[in-house]
Structure formats: structure tokens, C-alpha cells
Symmetry: D2
């Protein structure tokens, strides 16, 4: 079995490490970091989901830091690279590039990078549903961001079924994740003034032929982005046909606002009531009532749980890079292990 | 001079009353309400901007309420209608209709209604810039809502200059006004699940030939809606030409995010720093950097101060209904009296 | 085994129902409600934690409501009362009183009420640690509110160990629960102007000899109240002795801010990282660094997860009322079944 | 007349500069800064309240910065110090100390520092009401922070009238000011884990004999801290006597929650409705209903507008340092010029 290390045990890293740990065809060799966070401490604690996992330091300073903060450090990540087949790099932007140059390339270790990494860090911008095949055998793959992932999943469902002539997607982004209490805004809406926003080209890295235009703002919420979408269809489609196309798409859910799920916090509550780990929602979730077709215009509004949505794609990227399974089987295995519907 | 009463001294009512009071060609005869709010108490207090204005009760129960709460009530509104030429009705939805039927129609009093009123309450949906002429001589006019006003002002500027083939505007609405501390959401984004949202048809009530599609969500902020807009132009336009068209439009401002005004709260602060009354911003304000043209697509993002934007249009509606002035002169007089740029 | 029904499947009700369901010495006979919420729908759904539990309607209108909304209703609660030994009544204030009068008393069914119920609804205001014995054999018991529960747990630990001469506790309350997106405030702090606040007397209902004074405000957060506490001790105590007294107290946790848990949202994240159901934290959690003794004054700051903290006490109340177990054994069984530390 | 420069045109600096500008016995010689903010740009703009005021650069880099950003810079602050009698230093912590050492001391220029400066930067911690005399003739004075100012004003009123044996004040602080959209928290309450908090000793710097204990948390609001206060009185006092003592105290207001002012945002709205500049509230405002006496315990809850409360004290500090007026006359002149009640 391939040995996987997750470097950077933050919002994404801790989730990917646990997801890798739940698969039966890959081995979580360890995690790596350079300093304490509450998250790192909790997941490794006696009651934590990664208790017993080896913790490596990403560098010598990090080793001292972590030891000062009371962690047992099994060694330097660098010294383990002979044993490691792939690193899922969830470190902050800037660090990922240096890691590639200083650790992964010299040691012939594959790596999966995240959405914040520069575009040219890997030859493939990856979304499991849209372009699984492109990652086959690659050494470096970048899993696209949460926003891009949700747009890729939903747009590819519509595009395959009916053709998308052009699309407009406007994004309402969360200010920070739940524990990021140092981030704002409080009581302010902040526009992204680079117009159109980078999210359109990001989707095009995955779906090169899609004509999509995006704008974005940031608002004072912690759980979930919301996208408002218009798509001009090439073929006629009924609302029911569109809903079916979404239902057939992996990792896309429809929820009825009218059944008591009419906001991001009520969808959050649904995940809590289902006892999903961390109340996570890895699926892109569309409010079913918003799916509307008028002439050739298709509208919908969906929610993106920014902390969780890319986790299954990270697992699939690993399978693709080692050619362990084909697309459908990988998605099936990942989803089953993660308890997705 | 025409005698004006403002009924319903809430968010809009108190501002319109003060705005009428500042004009030299109309007389604020009084205000009317049925119960205390902090706002009513403050504006009538010794240091308040409407100190000395007569307060009438909109009905007998309201008279007792107000007197119990320590207000001096000059009488019932109904008993004054012989003297009154027009009521600006800023009462809650439902009350406005009854007022029209029971008070304004029987007493031959003109009335201006607000955006929350039903569409058929008046023959004209009014925006000063877009259709001033339509209100001339009318007995009943509805000033459109804050969102519609901002879209009408900006869209009509673009449409007149370059033609708008079709437009998409997605709205990020505030949860409540500053003093409305009972309104949510806290930490949630709430989609409007009627899709497309009513804002498109609302704009079409003012600009019947505009092809515009809208979606909307609500977020936890109190000062300002934000609209993300795409418009397909009929004619070529440079970004500079578009900016000029906006600069030429009354009650539309451009502000540079890069000059320190890159969020709704920083624009709020600008109004505070300028000492505008209540830190209000009656202009629709576009972040200049967001004005972008790519082929025929024009993008921009603007902010709407929901409490203030319709105030000047209410004053202009009065002038139009009594044919006191033509459009340009009315706008000029209103803006000068209100200190708009 | 005693048959338990939970009436009112809201924030508290759904949690209590699941907690009862996890005990091996009581039987969840069913739940009862009158209309849809997202929570009710989710917990009864195929993947939900109460799937298969019988749903009763609390009245005839409720039956029609629920059926219209697509629920299968097993019947009226009233018709089941022969089989039911106790109802945990989590209905809104006002309903609980009517239920007692119309259903529980005439049918000789015991009932547990919640913190929002009137003081005189039951002869005992209950907190498992502070006065388990008082509930023995009683027909009606009121489990005190989340704020009172946390103060009773922490104060009784200190009072038993060192004696509390007098205490001041000032409360910073959350505006609404996570899914309550209609509740405010946004960007406002709202004082409770009844001074001192009712929380002091509420604690005294459980600990009659405690001299405690409280004030309270409400702020824009959804997960957790925070209490700032000063207590004048009768006996000398070192900080370490105080910490030990808290560690020895059931359902009270110490967490170190310095270990990455320095806010309510970081404690929330800890619960998420531990995969506790709903990311709940039924323990009162004290930030360890805030425990400070200066002369006879003891200070601390603790957090209360308002949705979850009373759940174990509801279970213990049932055991006490039927005299199934003594205090220590009941607390032990409850905590083990719920996975508390 | 004394020549005053305000260095650091942020939240406090811009307000102090305008306040100095409104006095007839001191001259605003200029303002100084090192880089753009929206606030600096607005107040100096054509419609701004400081239009025409000379802008100096605090250092050479700052000069280039400001000129690059389109400002006209009249020169370096350092080169003006021959003409300047006093600098009100509102620069960030750390800068103030260097300014004192490198500019004010070598050039024999007096300086007023703000609450964030280190304790030993000046021999006097100043609050106009509590210790005006102590600043007479001094070269360096530190005006205490917003929280300390409000506690000094209210506590000294009570202490002088009835004697305060001991007091507990627990603080609920705002996360950031209105334009500080980069500051959190969103949906989190953050305790100050240094216990007791520094606010107690800060008040004691002004009122050395006061026994006061404080705790503090931070919450997601932008306009106003709230303090919950208990004071044990030495002498009996009726609630009416306490209210009168507060009414007699300069810069302390009572407002009735029951008259429509029952939250920080409703008090904010009152300031907006009164058209106070920036909707500022320089007075400490007590919710009148919260003033409660039970035996010897006095309770109250007050609000602090953190942006504005220290502004009048800065003006008074200048008068005291040059012995221009005595305490009562200075307070009277300042308040009249600022339009305080």
C-alpha cells in the first residue's frame, strides 16, 4: 500500500489525514507540521480521531516548537521521505512551493497541492468528477479550491446533460472558518475588486471549454460560501431534467428549503443532526426550489462547505496518481469510506 | 406651498420628513405615527432635527399609545386632511393600502407610497432619473425600493449611453437596519428561493424594456446591500466611457477601493468622516475598480445604503405630482438642499 | 423499563430524545410535536439518529400539519398516555403549563420540564450534581436552564470545597442557536435591564444558601454563552486546589487557552475535531488560565454550550424521579452512555 | 495661542484634530501621518472637516508614501517642531515611545499620549473629571483608554457621592471599529485570559484608592463596549440619589431602555438621529433602568463608544498642561465647542 503523509494539519489537512486513514487501499504514514494549533492537538489527543498517528516536524525549528509545546515528535519529515510515496501538502501558500523544490522533487516523492497553491505548481488542476483521467500517473496534482470544486461539480453535470453556452456565477464567501476568530469582517461586505474574479479562470483550468464569468464578495459568516448561478443552456431542459442531472452527479445534493433547510445555518444544523464528523458537508448542496428554467436560462443557488468539500477529491487524486482505481470506482470507494450519500 | 405629512416615522419616514423640511418649495405640515420608537422620540426631542414638528396620531388607539408614552399629540391625522395636500406614507405593508382606501381617496389627498407597498397601489412605480415624467399630475405614486432604485439609476445610465442587451444582477442584502436588533441572521446566509427574485420585475416596472435577471441572498450586516452586476452592451464602450456615464448620472458615485474605501464599512466610515447626517449615503456607490469591460460584457459592483437611497426620490415624486418643477430642476433642488454632490 | 416520550423536538428535545435512547435502563417510547422543523425531519430521516422512532402529534391540528408536511404520524400523544410513564416536555413556554394541566396530571404521567417553564410548574428545580436527592419520587421536576446549570455545577464544586461567601457572575449570552437564523442581534449588544438578572435567583432555586448576583447581556454569536465570575471564598484556597475541585466535579472541564482553545469558536472546533455528535459540548468548560486567586477572591471565566449542557441532567432527572439509581451511579451511567469524559 | 499637531490620523487622531480645531483657545497647526487611510483622505478632501489643514509626514518614508498616494505633504513633522507647542500622539503602540525619545524630548515639545501607550510614557494617567489638576504644567500626559475613561467618569461620580468600598466591572468589548473590516471575531466570544484584566489597574492609575476588579471578553460588534458593574457602597444611597449623581457628572448620560434605546445599536441610532458628527457618542451612557440598589450593592450597565469617549479628555489635557483654564471651565469650553449636553 502507498504511504501517505499529510503536511500542514490545518482546516484541510486534518480532514484529509482522517479521510486517508479511512481508506483500505492507502496507508496514513504520518502527519507533519511546525507548530501547535488547537486542531493538531485535538486530533492527536487520546480521544482524537488521529490518536497514535506519527507526528513529524517539517523542519528543525518546527521540531523544537512542537516539542516545547508538549508534542512528541517522531522525527523530521525529510528523514522519512524514503518510506513515503506521496505527501498531501496542505501548508500555507508559499511554503508549498518551497516544499516541492526542497523536499518532493529531490526525493522523488509525489505530492498533492491545494487550491491556494500557484497555478503552475502542478500540471493538472484536479476535480475528481471533471478530469480524473488527467491525473493518472502524474507526480504533482493540484486539487482546486472549494469554490472551484463546487462549480466544477455542478457545471459539469449541467454541461454534460444539456450543454452550457455561457454562465454567470456570483459568489458570497465566508469571512473565515469556525475557529479562525482573528479574521473579519464584522458587519461589512467586502467586494473582490479584481473583476472578473479569479474563480472563472480557476474553473476553466478544470473545464477548459466553459464560458463562465464570476464576481465575488466576502461576508461575516463562518460556515459556507453561497453561489448564485445563471447558465444559458444549449439544449432545452425541463426543471425536472436538471434536478435529475444533479441527482445523478456524485457529491452534489439537493435540499428543499421548504422542508426546513432554508439557509446555510439550517443546512449546517442538518449535518449536525445527522452526526456527520465535524458537522461537515462535503457535497455541494443546491436549494432545490432555486432550480428554475426560463426559456434557455437555468438558475440555481448552491452552498459550499469550504472546510470539507475538497476532501474526497484529495483522496481520489491519490488513487489517480498511482493508478490504483478508475474514476467511478475511486469515487465509490472514497464516498463509501467517508459515509457520503 | 403644498402641505406634506409623513405617516410612519421609521427608517424611511424620519429621513423623508427631514428632507421635505429642508426644501423651500414645500411645507412639512406634520408627521403621524401610532406608537413610540426611539427614532420618533429622538427626532422630536429638544435636540432633534424635527423638534417642533406637529405629531399626529394615525388612529385613536395610536393617540392613546403615544400619549401614554409621553408624547404630545396634536390630534388625529384624519382630522387634518382638509389642510394636507399629500401624505408620504411610510407605514408597514398592509397599513398603506388601508390608509389609501380609508383616508387618502375619500379626502382627495395625494399619496406617495414606498417599495414595500403592493404593485397596484399606484399607477406609477417611480425613480426620479428613469421616469420622472410619468408621475406628473398623478394622485398616487410608488417610489420603488432601495434595491430597485440603485439598479434603475445605474442601469439607466448605461442603457442610455450604450444600450443594455441583457443584464444579470445578484444581490447581497443586509439582514436589518442598524437599530433593528431583533432581526437576524447571525452567522448565516439566507437565499431568496423565489427564483429569479422579484428585483428584476421591480426594475422593469421602471424600465419596461430592460432584460434583467436577478437572484438574492441575505447576510449578517446592517449597513448596505451589495449588487454584483453583468451587463451585455449593445454598443462598444471603453471602461473610461462607462465611468463617465456613471459620473454624469445624478446620485451615482464612484469610489476607489484602492484609496481606502474597499468595503461597505469603509464607505460607511467615509460618510461618517464627511459628517453627513446619520452617516447616510443616498447615492448608489460603485467601486470604480470593478467597472470592467471585456468584449461586450460590462461588470461592476455597487453598494446601496438601504436606509437613505430612496429619500431624494420621494422629494422629487412630490414635485412631479404637483408639477412644481421639471425633472432636472427638481433633482438639482433636492440634491442641493440635501447636500448631495 | 420506564417508557419515555419527548414532547417538542427542538434544540433540547431532539438531544434529550437521543440521550434517552442511548440508556439501557429506560425506553424511548416516542417523540411528539405539532409541526415540521428541519431538525425533526432530519433526526427521523433514514440516516437520522432517531430513525424508526414513533412520532406522535401533540394535538389534532398538529397531526394534520405533520401529515401535510409528509410525516407519518403514529397517533395522538394523548391516546398513548396509558403506556407512557414520563414525558420530557421541551415545548415552548406556555405550552408546557397547558400540557401539565390537560395531559400529565389527568393521566398520572410524570413530567420533566425545561428552564423556560415557570418556577412553580414543579416542586423541584433540578441540577444533577447539586440536588439529585430532591427529585426522588417526584412527579414533576424542572431541569434548570443552561446558564443556571453551568453556574450550579461550578459554584457547587467551589462551595463544597472552600465555601462561597458571595459571588458575582456576569453573563454574555448568545443571540440564537445555530439554525435560528431569524434571531438577532446583528452588530449590537443588548443588556438585560431587569437588574439584577433572574439568573441569580435561578441558581438559588438549586443552591438556596448561595449569595450570588448576576447581570447579563446578549451578543451576536450562536454557539455558547460566556460567564465572568468572581467569588469571595470562606476558606483559603490555592489556584491548584481550585483546579482540582473543578476536575473532580462531573461535567466540568478545564481547557487551556494557551493550547489553542482560546475562544468559544476554538472550543467549538475542539468538539468538531473530537467528532462529538452535533459538535456538542455538554460540559461547562472553564478556561484554565482564568482560574485566579487573589487573597480571598477567586476568578474564572467559563463557557456554556447552551444547546447541550442540560441534556445529561434531563436523563438523571428521570432516574431520580423513578428512583432507578442513586446520584453517583446515575451520573456515571449517563456520562458513559453519552461518551462524556 | 498654542500650536497643536495631531500625529496619527486614525480612529482617535482624526476626531481629536477636529475637536482641537473647534476650540477658540488653541490652534490646529497641522496633522501628521505616514500612509494613506480612507479616513485621512476623507477628512482632508474638499468636503472634509479638516480640508485645508497642513499634512506633514512623520518621517521621510512616510513623505514618499503619502506623495505616491496623491497627497500634498507640507513637509516633515520634525522640521516644524520649532513652531509646535504640543503633539497629540495617536500613533500605534511602539511608535509613540520612539516619537517621544526622538522628537518630543529633544525639541522640548509637550505631548499627549493615548491609552495604548505604555504606563511609564508619562507621569500622569489622565481623566478630565478625576484628576485634571495632576496634569497642570506637565510635559507628558497619557489620556487613559476608552474603557478606563468610562469607568473613571462613572466610578468617580459614585465614589464622591457615596464612597465605593469595592467594585466589580466586567467588560464586553467590541471586536473592531466600524471601518476595521480585517478584524474579527466572527461568531465567537474571546476571553481575556489575563485575570483579573488590566482594566482594574488602569482605573487605579487615575483613582489610586479604588478597589476594583475587572474581567473582559471580546465579541463581534463594531460600535460600543458594554460594562456590567457592581459596586459596594460605603454609605446608603437611594436609586434616585445615584441617578442624580450620574446626572451631575459631566460626560455621563442616562438613557431609558424603555423609551426605545434598549441596545448599543439603538443608542447608536439615537446619535444618528441627532445628527452628531460621525454619529459619535463621547459620553458614557448608562441604561437608567439598570441602576439598582439592593442593600449596599449598586448595579448598573453602561455603554462606551470606544471611538469617541476620550476625545474631550484630550482637549482638556492640553488646557491643563498649559494651565490655560481650570478644570470646570475647561470641561465647559470643550463640551460647548463639541456640542455635548
Amino acid at each position: 500500500m502507498v504511504n501517505i503523509v499529510v503536511a500542514g494539519v490545518g482546516t484541510i489537512g486534518k480532514r484529509v489525514a482522517e479521510a486517508v486513514n479511512k481508506q483500505d487501499d492507502m496507508n496514513l504514514y504520518g502527519v507533519a507540521d511546525v507548530s501547535q494549533t488547537g486542531g493538531l492537538r485535538t486530533v492527536l489527543s487520546e480521544d482524537g480521531p488521529l490518536h497514535g498517528t506519527d507526528l513529524y516536524a517539517s523542519n528543525q525549528d518546527g521540531k523544537e516548537n512542537l516539542e516545547d509545546q508538549g508534542f512528541y515528535v517522531a522525527g523530521l519529515l525529510e528523514d522519512q521521505l524514503d518510506e513515503v510515496d506521496l505527501v498531501v501538502d496542505c501548508t500555507p501558500p508559499g511554503i508549498d512551493e518551497k516544499n516541492k523544490e526542497n523536499m518532493y522533487e529531490p526525493n522523488d516523492v509525489k505530492a498533492v497541492f491545494q487550491g491556494g497553491a500557484p497555478e503552475d505548481i502542478a500540471p493538472v488542476a484536479f476535480n475528481a468528477d471533471a478530469n480524473y483521467e488527467d491525473a493518472k500517473g502524474k507526480d504533482f496534482v493540484k486539487v482546486v479550491s472549494c469554490n472551484t470544486t463546487s462549480l466544477s461539480r455542478t457545471m459539469s453535470a449541467v454541461d454534460e446533460a444539456f450543454g452550457v453556452e455561457e454562465a454567470v456565477a456570483n459568489l458570497v464567501r465566508r469571512g473565515g472558518d469556525i475557529p479562525q476568530d482573528g479574521r473579519g469582517p464584522i458587519n461589512s461586505t467586502i467586494p473582490v475588486t479584481d473583476v472578473p474574479s479569479h474563480h472563472g479562470p480557476d474553473v476553466q483550468a478544470v473545464m477548459p471549454n466553459l464560458d463562465i464569468k464570476t464576481l465575488a464578495v466576502k461576508v461575516p459568516v463562518t460556515y459556507g460560501h453561497v453561489h448564485m448561478v445563471n447558465a444559458e443552456l444549449e439544449e432545452n431542459a425541463s426543471e425536472e431534467e436538471v434536478k435529475q442531472a444533479f441527482r445523478d452527479q456524485p457529491r452534489v445534493n439537493l435540499e428543499k428549503a421548504g422542508e426546513g433547510y432554508d439557509s446555510t445555518s439550517k443546512l449546517h444544523e442538518k449535518m449536525r443532526d445527522l452526526h456527520t464528523p465535524r458537522s461537515d458537508m462535503p457535497e455541494a448542496t443546491i436549494w432545490e426550489e432555486t432550480i428554475t428554467v426560463e426559456e434557455n436560462t437555468l438558475y440555481w443557488i448552491h452552498m459550499v462547505h469550504q472546510e470539507a468539500i475538497v476532501v474526497p477529491d484529495n483522496v481520489d487524486a491519490i488513487r489517480a496518481m498511482f493508478e490504483i482505481e478508475g474514476k467511478e470506482e475511486s469515487i465509490r470507494k472514497t464516498d463509501e469510506a467517508l459515509g457520503l450519500r
